[in-house]
Amino acid sequence: MEKKRIIGLFSGLVLGGSTLIVVLFLGIILWDIFSKGFPSLSWNFVSSFPTNGMTQGGILPAIIGTVLLTFITTLFSVPFGVACAIYLNEYARPNTLTNVIRASIRNLAGVPSIIYGLFGLALFVQALNFGTSILSAGLTLGLLSLPYIITTTEEALKRIPNSLREAALALGVTQFETIKDVVLPKALPGILTGVILTLSRAAGETAPILFTGVAFFINGISASPNQEFMALPYHLYMLSTQHNEIEQVRPLAYATASVLILLVFLLNIIAFYVRFKNRTQD
């Protein structure tokens, strides 16, 4: 019996300890970045251009670039992703074609992000001649986001009970009208949660934009979609690995990392809020 107790104690320590380590990982990451990044954060840092070869000034163009980039990603991936999810959940019959589509989506979700970068380079930059631009990069991230948008949207649609669809159909409402007027409005909070979470991932991606349009430095902000752009994750990458005065810009790199993580967390918090509000309503 004594042996059993010792084994039990030991097992509990291992399991609890493992969980503690996982939590510590997050704690260390946040503590290190925020404690060294926050002192350099200021209004000036997020509202001005970099100066003196990036050793001073702020990250405004990178913030704007990331926001615009995410906007293009949304414009492209949300309509296609939601439409595909509607097809799968509302129209598709259980046949081979549907299975192939589902298998494709699962595989697309597993394709490494750098391969999306190559595909964006081959398709948007070269074949379609969009050049290295915020448009090419945004579309590339849109493709990367597509499987996640589809999966989360389909889950939201699945939660809508069939009785609601029947209610509308029995009134002589067509299937499309049912989807547009009854199913989508009811599923909207769930879809929104998935979209925001997906975009928070897309905003932090670096590999797919490396060859499709991101730049180390741009002179001014341009609203034109065929211009190169700066982005927060790439800015952090350049500051931490490619800069000539790496030690000198380290505080700026920490501050950039803080802004990036705060942005991603902000999106996550919005998503959780939407989900939470929807749950309490039901």
């Binding site: 509990g12 595989n107 597509l146």
Partner: protein, 292 residues
């Protein structure tokens, strides 16, 4: 709008939605075509045998994927050695031991960990893990395979924990109760009944985590030193397939052998992740069938 027109719109949109569904097949097919068309152009210039059996990645002279492949697996396997036990034990803790209130706190923490961008984790590899490893092992810098493995483990952990937890939760309560009724204690039940029953799901979790580690770019690019020699140990600098593409694609002139070579190594990476994800999917399906 009259009924005829409404029904016409209805059937038209049905086709439009189907088109969106077919887009996913086209996209996967497009990626496949892009990788393999460019790979064929590469193999017209470089014999496949040299590509697979050589020992040097030295563009313009030698194109051998071998050192990159070894690096990729070396780092990914290292990350699994760290992440698999941590992930499965944490999942077991979360589903079998943690009080409800603690679970409510721990789950968002895992999701937050998953939300941190890879470039931020790579950055910590440079400023925190690297110097730490250098000090511990008395080496010049800590940018090596071990550094990459630690970071990838952190990145793969949320996937492994979440899916493992689902797998453990899916084991029917009756299994556990039967075991407890036979006089087995909590631990014997966990290790001899629950975990073996959840095994296919755990494999799926590990496979999907591994797929993520194999395909990750920014962290390994930033943290592993990127020397393209065959590594001999975890303290050697390595250069994975993903990092090679990231470093070299920005600099090569389009439509050269070097350019095509990057598509060829990407094609290999694509096939590997595909196989890993398929294996994961296979076990996940088996679990689903088993419990339904």
């Amino acid at each position: 709008m009259n009924t005829v027109k409404r029904e016409q719109i209805d059937s038209l949109l049905k086709f439009a939605f189907k088109g969106a569904g077919l887009l996913t097949i086209t996209l996967l097919g497009g990626i496949f075509f892009m990788l393999f068309a460019n790979s064929i152009l590469f193999f017209l210039n470089v014999p496949p045998l040299d590509f697979f059996t050589g020992s040097q990645w030295d563009p313009e002279n030698h194109y051998s994927i071998f050192p990159l492949l070894v690096s990729t697996f070396w780092v990914a396997l290292g990350s699994m050695l760290i992440a698999v036990p941590l992930g499965i034990f944490s999942a077991a803790y979360l589903s079998e031991m943690a009080p409800k209130k603690l679970q409510i706190v721990l789950k968002p923490i895992i999701e937050m960990l998953a939300a941190i961008p890879s470039v931020a984790i790579g950055f910590l590899g440079i400023v925190l893990v690297g110097p730490g490893l250098a000090q511990i092992f008395g080496i010049q810098n800590g940018l090596n395979a071990l550094n990459g493995s630690i970071l990838l483990a952190v990145m793969a952990l949320p996937t492994i924990v979440t899916i493992s937890e689902d797998a453990i939760n899916a084991v029917p309560k009756s299994h556990r109760e039967a075991s407890l009724a036979l006089g087995a204690n909590k631990w014997e039940t966990l290790f001899k009944v629950t975990i073996p029953a959840a095994f296919p799901g755990l494999i799926a979790a590990v496979m999907l985590g591994l797929g993520r580690a194999l395909g990750e770019t920014m962290t390994v690019l930033m943290a592993t030193g990127n020397s393209a020699a065959i590594p001999k140990g975890f303290l050697d600098s390595v250069r994975t397939i993903t990092a090679t593409i990231a470093i070299e694609m920005g600099e090569v002139p389009y439509q050269t052998t070097h350019y095509y070579s990057l598509f060829a190594i990407a094609a290999i990476l694509f096939l590997i992740t595909l196989a890993v994800n398929f294996t994961g999917e296979f076990f996940a399906n088996r679990l689903r069938k088993f419990h339904s």
